[in-house]
């Protein structure tokens, strides 16, 4: 920095350099402190889930689908468990066991891994497809735009869940099919948004300048348009993630998503649903876990939208 000032002198003042990394970090921290309570709550929830998902194997002594006791044991039952060294220890099953006698808490932790992981993968794929398509359609205009937009119109006219059910029947239920089907169906919304916001940017002078400079399509889309449409896309990413997450959970709940013995929150609700008729809330825990995460993400997205778009408070 000091070098810069000596040689360039006033120019450095006139053209403000991008804030150094350190300041950007402190800016972020300051914004975080000022965030409303709901957004802070959302952030805490998200961090908590991510930690749980990453450290699932460390946090529980059992394997993902290890049968540890009898079926439907109540909360707080103690069982003997063999440790890795060959010895034996007593473990308390805080949330009891499920319909096959597997530890509920373990399933919940691994469920976080699988459900969130797959939802995240699907959302990324949807953004890759929809985002690239949308920006390209806006940049190219003309017939590529027309064709892409009409295809998307038709795809969006079919209710997503029904379409997903149809496709899953045809291609069979596997994780790959699930991810691909939902990613393609969801990329339509991303396409619409990416196209709409890029259309506003494409007409700007600096795009014209880049074109005259002879920049290729790749440069224009990635270096000129993409940075300018990031905020709405990031907000949309949060919302899409929630939507994908809920769709996958719903499909798993219907028995058409992740297949056993993979731990997954949707199918956990379904497998243990009979307990509800006895007034036991254990089967509701995975459902509550889904709800809490989506609420958290929604709160954060809400706050982010307010910050970046200056959305009016009364809307």
């Amino acid at each position: 920095m000091t070098d810069n000032k000596d040689t360039l002198g006033q120019t450095a003042d006139a053209v403000a350099p991008p804030p150094p990394r350190k300041r950007r970090l402190s800016d972020t921290l300051k914004a975080l402190r000022k965030a409303p309570l709901s957004a802070k709550f959302g952030l805490v929830v998200i961090v908590f889930y991510v930690v749980m998902a990453i450290f699932a194997p460390v946090l529980t002594p059992f394997g993902e689908s290890e049968i540890v006791s009898n079926e439907y044991e109540p909360w707080g039952v103690e069982v003997a468990h063999e440790t890795a060294g060959g010895g034996s220890e007593t473990v308390t099953l805080m949330l009891g066991t499920d319909n096959l006698g597997r530890d509920m808490l373990t399933r919940l932790l691994y469920g976080a891994r699988n459900t969130i992981g797959i939802a995240l993968l699907t959302t990324c794929l949807a953004f890759l497809l929809g985002g690239v398509g949308g920006i390209l359609a806006a940049t190219l205009g003309g017939w590529p735009d027309q064709i892409l937009s009409r295809i998307i119109d038709v795809l969006m006219a079919i209710p997503a869940l029904i379409f997903a059910l149809l496709l899953l029947t045809i291609f069979g239920t596997s994780v790959t099919t699930l991810v691909l089907v939902i990613a393609v169906l969801d990329s339509t919304r991303v396409f619409r948004l990416a196209r709409a916001v890029s259309l506003n940017v494409v007409v700007m002078d600096f795009i014209e300048a880049a074109r005259l400079r002879g920049e290729g399509l790749g440069w224009i889309t990635l270096r000129e348009i993409l940075p300018n449409i990031m905020p709405p896309l990031v907000a949309e990413f949060g919302l899409r993630f929630c939507f994908v997450f809920l769709t996958i959970a719903s499909l798993s709940f219907l028995g058409l998503g992740l297949q056993p013995p993979t731990a997954d929150w949707g199918s956990m609700v379904r497998d243990n649903a009979t307990l509800i008729t006895y007034g036991d809330i254990t089967p509701l825990l995975p459902a509550a876990a889904i709800a809490l995460l989506t609420v958290g993400v929604n709160f954060v997205v809400d706050w982010f939208l307010h910050k970046t778009s200056g959305l009016r408070d009364d809307q």
């Binding site: 209710p159 029947t169 219907l254």
Partner: protein, 313 residues
């Protein structure tokens, strides 16, 4: 003119969607007959089977025949039990519409009242509470809401049955009583969106000069909103109500499964599990058609109620 255009577009979409649904089967690895007969298939049985369900004809011919059958109410036969699909669907379709209408009867008035109240007491504690509750309720998976309702109303309080096993012989009142919990679940899912739109469209209007005029005349806030703002806010509200009705028809799938309600959604999920493709095709067509038609209605209604949209820029 614009209305005719929307109509034409709607039917075009319907046509393309039916094409997609019909052609989807061709994407099967192997074909329907191999799927049905599995390991025990021989060349002869396969050939006989293909001739029987018309797989030996070309795709366009099959499509026209399938579409013609659909329009006449002949959906073909189920792979799982060989029964006529129209027979399977008949009462189930009625049940699904019954549930959706019941949910609409509860949710639409509720959403309107809540929305108007939220606009009336804007930024007050009531408004904020409603905002947080609705934002949360759209984040909940349907089956979560459904099971919570079951836990409270049927297990703890014992007011309603947890299974909605309705049958055609029941009276309407009895049916309504049995389907009240699923209807309530659907209500909670759609009410948030409708209520927020009602609130937003009224608040949008509050900045107009004629509202200011009414305020200056010394009218009460309640009278301004109900008499002056609401009539002009109808267009977007009607639009969002119809869109949510479309969602209701489709959203019944999961709710029906939770409550074992004998509707079309439950049949569809069941058939997906059995990979009973003709049934899934028929259900998907009915759901998609209803959805598209309702969406088209929403578009046309918003054009009719807002003459400005008849003259696009």
């Amino acid at each position: 003119m614009l209305i005719a255009q929307r109509l034409a577009l709607g039917f075009l979409v319907l046509f393309v969607v039916s094409l997609i649904i019909a052609a989807g089967v061709d994407a099967l690895p192997g074909d329907l007959c191999q799927e049905m007969q599995g390991q025990g298939a021989t060349v002869e049985t396969l050939k006989a089977c293909r001739e029987e369900i018309g797989l030996d004809k070309s795709l366009p011919v099959r499509y026209v025949e399938w579409l013609g059958g659909m329009l006449k109410g002949d959906f073909g036969t189920s792979l799982a039990n060989g029964r006529e699909i129209s027979e399977l669907i008949g009462t189930r379709l009625q049940n699904t519409f019954f549930l959706a209408i019941l949910a609409a009867l509860i949710s639409v008035p509720l959403a309107l009242v809540l929305g108007v109240l939220a606009a009336l007491y804007r930024n007050g504690i009531y408004d904020r509470a409603v905002n947080v509750v609705t934002l949360s309720s759209i984040s909940f998976p349907e089956f979560f809401i459904a099971y919570i309702l079951i836990l409270f109303f049927s297990v703890n309080l014992g007011w309603f049955p947890s299974l909605s096993n309705i049958s055609p012989e029941m009276s309407i009142a009895e049916k309504a009583y049995k389907s009240l919990l699923p209807a309530l679940t659907l209500t909670l899912v759609v009410v948030a969106h409708m209520m927020r739109m009602t609130r937003a469209s009224i608040i949008n209007l509050l900045a107009s000069p004629y509202i200011e005029m009414a305020t200056l005349k010394g009218m009460t806030r309640r009278r301004i909103i109900v008499k002056h703002a609401l009539p002009n806010a109808w267009a977007p509200i009607v639009n969002v109500v119809v869109l949510n009705l479309a969602y209701l028809i489709v959203g019944v799938v999961i709710v029906e499964v939770v409550f074992v309600y004998p509707g079309l959604g439950e049949l569809m999920v069941d058939s997906v599990r059995k990979r009973d493709i003709p049934v899934v095709q028929a259900c998907a067509t009915i759901f998609a058609a209803t959805y598209i038609l309702l969406n088209m209605t929403a578009d046309i209604l918003s054009i009719i109620t807002n003459p400005r949209m008849l003259h696009p820029k």
